[in-house]
Amino acid sequence: MAAATGPVRWHRNLSAKIAAIPMITTALVVFIGGTAWTVLYSFTSSKLLPREKFVGLAQYERLWSSSKWLISIENLAIYGVFSLVFSLLIGFMLAALLDQKIRFEDTFRTILLYPFALSFIVTGLAWQWILNPDFGIQHVVRSLGWESFSFDPLYDPDIVIYGILIAGLWQGTGLIMCLMLAGLRGIDEDIWKAAKIDGIPMWKTYIFIVIPMMRGIFITAIVLIASGIIKVYDLVVAQTGGGPGIASEVPAKYVYDAMFLSQNLGQGFAASTMMLLTVIIIVVPWAYLEFGGKRRG
């Protein structure tokens, strides 16, 4: 990419430019154009069809006074925090266990990762069945003699989001475990030897030496989990349909419902713009920390 003091040759690399047209179109038209369009139309009073009648922040005011949206946000926050913490915790601990030079490592890994191959729909339906109060865990425990046992997350508005969390963790922790395992395997064997010679106990080696060395993997895992959290939709649709009532609504479902079910496009645009804003608030500081220093050069 030399500075072009030579003859300007637009046809140099012509094939590459032609080949990149789909990418350029996607980047400019869909990603930038589409996003800008939605943000712009979130300031209109669009209902069944988009129209250019601008109403300022009216859609946002309505959004933030809607109990369905507020519950969605609350659910997303609960689901997000727990799923982040538990995914990292469980993922790392399972990876550390698998990294002990054990036998049947492949078998264990295959078992722990298979849920990740399944769709959220399948995951949600499977756990809907297991958590079914009349047939599932609650029923089984009660029929064993503990009559007052109660574990009914899918029909209890207060804890329904935890029922979804259980399914989400079941599906996703295997991936985090695999990432962590790759990270652990990337650590020089000599580090362990050195720690052993220095007489450092294993748990201390993990916390003070190994985990700081795996910073990159942790960041990747966090980004991955976080982007999964924002997208959570299918799981809720399959497992609870947002219910009971509106107790397990999430933002992505709010957007879909507003756009395609209740013919309230403006609300959908405003809600999706809020989702975008959330991502920006999370991603921009991270990106700045990761790349900010270099980009200045």
Partner: protein, 364 residues
Amino acid sequence: METKHSISIKNLRLSFGALDVLKDLNLDVGRGEFLVLLGSSGCGKSTLLNCIAGLLDVSDGQIFIGERNVTWEEPSKRGIGMVFQSYALYPQMTVAGNLSFGLKNAGLPKPEIEERVNRAAKILQIEPLLSRKPAALSGGQRQRAAIGRALVRDADVFLFDEPLSNLDAKLRADLRVEIKQLHQQLSNTMIYVTHDQIEAMTLADRIAIMRGGQILQLASPNEIYNRPANKYVAEFIGSPTMNFFDGEIVGGDGLRFAVGNHAFPLEGYDFRDGLAVQGPAWFGIRPEHMVTGTKAESARIRLSGQVELVEPLGSDTLARVAVDGRSLWVRMDGQANIRDGDDIVVGFDPARANLFDKSHENRL
């Protein structure tokens, strides 16, 4: 341009953003010449070669191959063959496939491709390997096949980008000889990039020593060794590196080099343009130009010191000698019988010395 030049580079400049990788570089390579571009990594030698090959777009300047201006020509249309450090053989093709790939792209008729491939294979003695894949070849065989790929193109100019760096020492020496024979046999122009001074000295008709995107000295191996143009070149060529004294050239009773309480006579030193100068300077002398024992007695300059360290190499012995708190490397006979702590007298002749001015470090 002039037909006597095979390659001619005029005011070549290449920059990546603010970074100038090649700075206003000029170079003429004669027909049939073996030119080696030598320098440490990052000096721009490989970049220059890639520019000649057309694999990098230049920022400014022109490149001529033969009489054609090829500055903006496609690599395959420049009449070059190229050999790479990592061999760069196409892993999924056989050796024959690798050799013929370029010819097929050029649309040559099949019988001719076959003939050329066979001829090249014969020259390089890789005929039995033609149907093998690169993965089934040893390092030396791979590099032969890679040379073959350049050979079949019947190119006027061969470009080598550190072709022997990935080989072990023994093979490297063998293939070096083969490349030299190949040049004698084919007599096309060859440009050869390396950071290995032995390859450079043994192969080159002329060596271009590069640093910071410029050519510091372009001369025969002999000239470069004996009359380095500046202190950098003097340090770069030769191992162990040249010994330096930091002092001053003073006049008076004949010209002398004053360092500490010594004053080396400079009679017999061949000043550049015969022009004697005075002032602060470096005095350089190669370890192999220092003598010891009885020879030291008769040398023009004598220093006494103590042996600090001995490195026996078999053919030679290297000794580090402390003289007035300064360490000097001396190359001695392999049979020399010395030990650490021995007192020793070293001597040398000003005619063998190299003087560089302190401010520009250029040869005086």
